[in-house]
Symmetry: C2
Subunit: 192 residues, 2 copies
């Protein structure tokens, strides 16, 4: 099996995460990111308006995919089944690059208050996207909000499981997400 070949966009993300880890988010410039990725500055700007958007872009894609998956779930699907469909759809955006970069991204976030805030906002945005999509399906308000939080929690927990340790590279991210969601559904029975 051939090794995964990142394109310019992916190389830019990997280079940015590495530089954020090494020298911090604030100290890292667009020029440095482009240089490390082996592309020109104008190639950077063809993909991202600035270094901030480089991180936000992934979040918007995930939000859109989660919402689409929820919207297209069968009409008879329960709120959590719709969330599961959203997670499966979102998993298609997370390829080998996401997995490869995960440990360094985690280290970069751990070291930067600014990236922690951005990461937290990402969770809130994903939850909001799912809640809107669930409400549009007719799921009543408190249930929609709760199902979305389970979705975010499943995403975080599944992502952590998927991206840590030495698992075979063909491991499917969707499997991890659905397992995490299932564990949370089971846990909801023991809340009291």
């Amino acid at each position: 099996m051939g090794r995964w070949e990142p394109d310019a966009r992916e190389r830019l993300v990997v280079a940015a995460v590495d530089l954020f880890t090494e020298q911090g988010y604030d100290a890292t410039t667009v020029v440095q990111i482009a240089e490390r990725a082996g592309v020109t500055k104008s190639t950077f700007f063809r993909h991202f308006p600035d270094k901030r958007e480089l991180l936000v872009a992934g979040q918007e894609t995930l939000s859109r995919l989660l919402a689409e998956g929820i919207a297209e779930a069968p009409a008879e699907a329960s709120p959590l089944e719709a969330v599961a469909a959203g997670l499966v759809r979102a998993s298609t955006a997370m390829g080998p690059m996401s997995r490869e970069v995960a440990p360094r991204l985690k280290a970069a976030v751990a070291a930067s208050a600014e990236l922690q805030e951005r990461d937290a906002l990402k969770s809130v945005s994903l939850a909001a996207a799912m809640t809107t999509a669930l409400v549009a399906r007719g799921v009543p308000d408190p249930t929609a909000a709760l199902a979305s939080e389970l979705g975010v929690l499943a995403f975080k927990r599944g992502y952590a499981e998927w991206s840590e340790g030495d698992r075979p590279p063909e491991d499917d991210f969707a499997t991890y997400l659905l397992k995490a969601l299932d564990e949370l559904r089971a846990a909801s029975a023991s809340l009291g």
Copy 2:
């Protein structure tokens, strides 16, 4: 009934939130906040190391109270009952000032990407504080994470209900929190 009389610390928070709303978080200086609050710059620094901490201080208090309430809940309390105890404890930190400032805080957050990120990080921090306290009680991991998310959601929803509209000022915040948590518990039965 006498009108609520804010002390210097509360006046600083109200002044800061107003200035953030009027001119943005970045453009607001410590000198301006102190001036608006009618105190000296050194009074500001007696209460807060900088304007960032002015917002973070409340979050640390809430996290501590949530954790204490959970830790001190009866041994036989279910995870959600322990969360309820945490919410009741946390509600003691939210007095008339919190309620009075809420609409302006909401406007300031809506207008500032930086404050949205800070607000999102606050939710994550509160959830983490509750999860740690629940795990220390012996609540297993996925249940603890889930119960904490319900707690954060109840806090947000109860806070929104409590701080919006024209309710009598003696309305107890704890009542709103417990009602919100109860609605979420009921909703968890219809997740599917």
